[in-house]
Amino acid sequence: MNLEQGAPMAAGMGTEPSRSRRPSAPHEGSHAHRQATVQFGMWVFLASEVLFFGGLFLAYTQGRVNWPAGFAAASRHTDVWLGTLNTALLLTSSGFAALAAEFSAREVGAARRHARICLWATVALGLTFLAVKGFEWHSEWIEGLFPGPGFQLEPGQAPPMGAEQFFMLYFVMTGLHALHMVAGVIVMGVLAWRAEEGVALPIEAAALYWHFVDIVWIFLYPLLYLVERHS
């Protein structure tokens, strides 16, 4: 019995010298190791998401290079104030997500309650973002800005070349971003529900995801709302 218990330990000790040469590598099975694994897995997923959105940004670049005037005219029809409000909401929600990750990593009960409050705040800000975005889409639909046979920038006037392509990209990019937000809100909501059960690692992973979705919006905001606002 002693031998059986001792064998894996000995095997573990056998790998010690190679580990000691790399002090940053955490011990397998330890909390630090699990944390590193969770972080690595989430970052690899986010790297694939970078390329997923990257293709859309490439399509946007192509459109804007080809039809600069059409993109500028179309962008002036987006609601810059609602877009700015939504950016502020999302940036603030990222702050709450960061706080939630920090608080949940602490062992103290009070910190976990703080984590729960921060997660609910993140969810509330995310839902407000989605509500504002939904209102924007509705107004744009009524205005005839949704691409299709009825597309128009000004009633009774032919839209400039590229304006419809801009709104095609606008709806695809903000729509996919909103889908990511919905997923994030659901995950954050479930974790807020379970915040006091000690789900620090899932909260850390969800916060990383939330920050990524925030970064996507940070780039969408100037590219969709702020094209030649001055003229």
Partner: protein, 124 residues
């Protein structure tokens, strides 16, 4: 408690910096800077993203593997955008006036009017 205060201060200041950058981005877009408008808004967006990545996502304090993934993802994105843009950024566009589409008369004498079964009899 002081640890919590320091945390709140760090995150609060970061959110404040992000909101200031947002105001700068909105303000700069209302000035006529020519092509500088796009450069300014992308620069400000990159600064905001850098703040989120370094302070909220703690990329600098993560394990080496995570930093490798971050750098690799940016490198792949650069490849995607640069190689993907090669064609339309280097293509010589020569604008022409819009022409109404019209049916061109078929050149009858050049058409092979033999029925299809004749084609099978042709020497190969």
């Amino acid at each position: 408690m002081s640890e919590t205060a320091a945390l709140l201060k760090r995150v609060g200041l970061t959110v404040l910096a992000l909101l200031v950058l947002l105001a700068l981005s909105l303000g700069s877009s209302h000035l006529n800077l020519g092509s500088g408008n796009l450069a300014a808004s992308l620069l400000i967006a990159s600064m905001k993203a850098a703040l989120v990545v370094t302070i909220f996502m703690k990329a600098g304090r993560s394990v080496r593997l995570v930093r490798l993934v971050l750098v690799a993802s940016l490198a792949w994105l650069a490849l995607l955008l640069s190689l993907g843009s090669l064609d339309f950024l280097t293509r010589d566009v020569q604008p022409a006036a819009w022409q109404v589409p019209r049916q061109i008369e078929p050149a009858v004498e050049q058409l092979d009017v033999r029925p299809p079964h004749d084609a099978a009899k042709r020497p190969r």
